[in-house]
């Protein structure tokens, strides 16, 4: 058996950093919280360094696959980690019963997601998914002196456990129908199976179980409460990283393992996609809390991404990757602005954002760019991403979905423009300017520049992503 452990170096570095932080926490006194965060960021950068020019291939007997898609997602996860660790450093004064394990658990969950981007087997997939989930359950309930957070943690745990049951039950049916657990082996053995009842039950349960991670219908109920109640950096982690991890496993399972029986799951994925688009965007309209608004908009985004999954083509897979790239930058920029605002004002209500443009033009501009990019307004990155997704759906003849997608993009503009209206047109109650420190400023300028760049000059990136996506088929 080929171990090829050197392919897993980035994961080992992340896990090593997490262990280091766990131990360091014992020796550092309370005043030096910042240090653990900085060490976490340095560790993540080292992991990124080991990922430069990483080889492709299989490790640990073929259960770990490093290909260009997994390298893309690992880069995405590392960028998310750096931004989220920074977010935690901004936020940590808010957490009364602070513990250093917060950083370690974030790093553990990210290394689990990096495993997820490389899995080739249902067993490895399920185990890695649970590893990530356990970290996130703990993180969501971390500030357990706040009743909202306790509620968030409990809801996340209970829905997560239910979804996990669906998932493992579905996997067992697929195993029953195909007699294999590896995705490639499943695809191979399904060539000789047709119309097996076990397979249909298995695929249905599997797809439904997978919707939990990406917060789409039918496992979307947790999203608004958890996004609102969990500590904001954890919300950002769920919105950016957990969703990306969900989509890489969906692509691996459906595109690599079950592509031969795509007629069985395309209808199901299309229904879920349409329902999520309608529900997420319509329910987002009356929201008063910005984190709840982002949660509902996130259900809508999952609908768009599932539309590209339903297209089941290399164009769709590339569109998913480009969408996630723009989504991660837009949403993390927005969350940094939300945390900076919350630190000054102590409120997440949309109405308290009134007149933000006069109090801090940079924060207002970041939210403006971030939210409108998610809504899909040209010339921002999110527009190009939505454009590719709808193009992929139209190319495969999914007209109804494409129409819903276009209409819902207009609805999304409405509720995001409400936030913008509050920030730019309403007079502020309190005219005192909000101070933003120099590193946060630099970071926000950088994120905004990336979002605008992805919209104005997407050519090289989309070509690259579309090229990578061919590996999946």
């Amino acid at each position: 058996m080929q171990m090829n452990l050197h392919l897993m170096t980035p994961e080992f570095v992340m896990l090593g950093t997490a262990f280091l932080l766990l131990i360091l926490e014992l020796f550092l006194y309370k005043g030096s919280r910042m240090v653990t965060g900085v060490i976490g960021i340095i560790g993540t950068c080292i992991a990124g360094y080991t990922l430069i020019g990483a080889e492709t291939g299989k490790a640990v007997g073929g259960l770990f696959l490093q290909d260009t898609v997994s390298i893309f997602f690992k880069w995405l996860f590392l960028v998310i980690t750096v931004l989220i660790l920074y977010l935690v450093m901004m936020y940590e004064d808010k957490i009364k019963n602070w513990r250093g394990e917060f950083y370690a658990l974030i790093l553990f969950s990210i290394s689990g997601m990096m495993f997820l981007s490389s899995i080739t087997d249902f067993i490895g997939f399920y185990v890695s998914l649970e590893f990530v989930a356990v970290c996130l359950y703990v993180l969501a309930a971390f500030t357990n002196d706040n009743p909202l957070t306790v509620e968030a943690g409990l809801k996340y745990l209970v829905t997560g456990a239910l979804a996990s049951g669906f998932l493992v039950y579905g996997i067992s049916f697929i195993y029953g129908a195909s007699g294999a657990t590896g995705f490639v082996e499943v695809a191979h053995s399904l060539k000789s199976v047709d119309g097996n009842g076990f397979l249909i039950i298995g695929i249905t349960l599997l797809v439904i179980g997978l919707t939990f991670k990406i917060s789409s219908i039918p496992f979307h109920v947790w999203a608004p409460d958890v996004y609102q109640g969990a500590p904001t950096p954890v919300t950002a982690l769920l919105a950016a990283a957990s969703k990306s991890a969900g989509f890489i496993v969906i692509m691996r399972i459906l595109f690599t393992g079950l592509i031969g029986v795509k007629a069985e799951w395309i209808i199901l994925v299309s229904i879920i996609s349409g329902a999520s688009l309608l529900f997420g965007n319509l329910a987002a309209m009356p929201q008063k809390d910005i984190k709840r608004l982002i949660a509902y908009a996130g259900i809508g985004s999952a609908g768009y991404l599932l539309m590209a999954v339903a297209a089941a083509s290399a164009l769709g897979a590339g569109a998913i990757m480009f969408y996630l790239l723009t989504y991660v930058f837009s949403i993390l920029g927005s969350f940094i602005a939300i945390v900076a605002f919350n630190n000054a004002e102590g409120s997440d209500l949309i109405e308290s954002y009134a007149g933000l443009s006069r109090r801090s033009p940079l924060l207002a501009a970041t939210l403006f760019i971030g939210l409108l990019s998610i809504a899909g307004i040209p010339p921002l990155g999110g527009f190009i991403a939505k454009f590719y997704i709808i193009a992929a759906a139209v190319k495969e003849g999914l007209w109804a979905l494409a129409v819903i997608g276009v209409v819902m993009a207009v609805v999304a503009m409405y509720y995001f423009l409400l936030v913008v209206k509050s920030m730019y047109l309403r007079p502020p109650k309190n005219t005192e300017p909000i101070k933003v420190d120099i590193t946060t400023r630099a970071l926000l300028y950088f994120i905004n520049a990336v979002t605008i760049f992805l919209g104005l000059y997407p050519g090289p990136i989309t070509d690259w992503v579309m090229d990578i996506a061919k590996v999946l088929f």
Partner: protein, 177 residues
Amino acid sequence: MEQLFFYIFALVAVVSAVLVVSVRNAVHSAFYLIICLLQVAALFILLRSPFLAAVQVFIYVGAVMVLFLFAVMVLDIGKEKTKEFIHSQWLPAVGVIIALFVMIGYMIKRGKLSASLGIYNEAALAKNTEVIGKTLFTQYIFPFEVVSLLLLVALIGAIVLVMKDKGRARKNNGAGS
């Protein structure tokens, strides 16, 4: 003969599973769950998987049920009013269950639910435990190691969530005395 035993075990399993959710006393419910899990272990033996049967008895009947009973005793859950737990959802729930039952029954009748034995033939099944041990530590070493990480994180998480701050705990004690 084997079929007769299958029906006996299956019947007892289903009846005890129904009793788990319908009896009022939490301790009785836990005992019915033990009976249900033991029947499932017996079914595993009928399926020639002694290892799974042993694991089922060790982990579920042994460890998990002891934890359940501990929790029941510590939390002092007495006889609960059933009304509190039967919400207005019972009607759609019954509908869904019946629909599922009919659907699966239809599929079985049409012969749509069938699967081949795959690579695990009689010869492999005879050495069940040995085969599992070998594959677990060679082919599936990666998931095995990730499970150990999972357990570590679960341990850390449990401690983090329930541990009180030293300072705060002392203050609370001081206020109490």
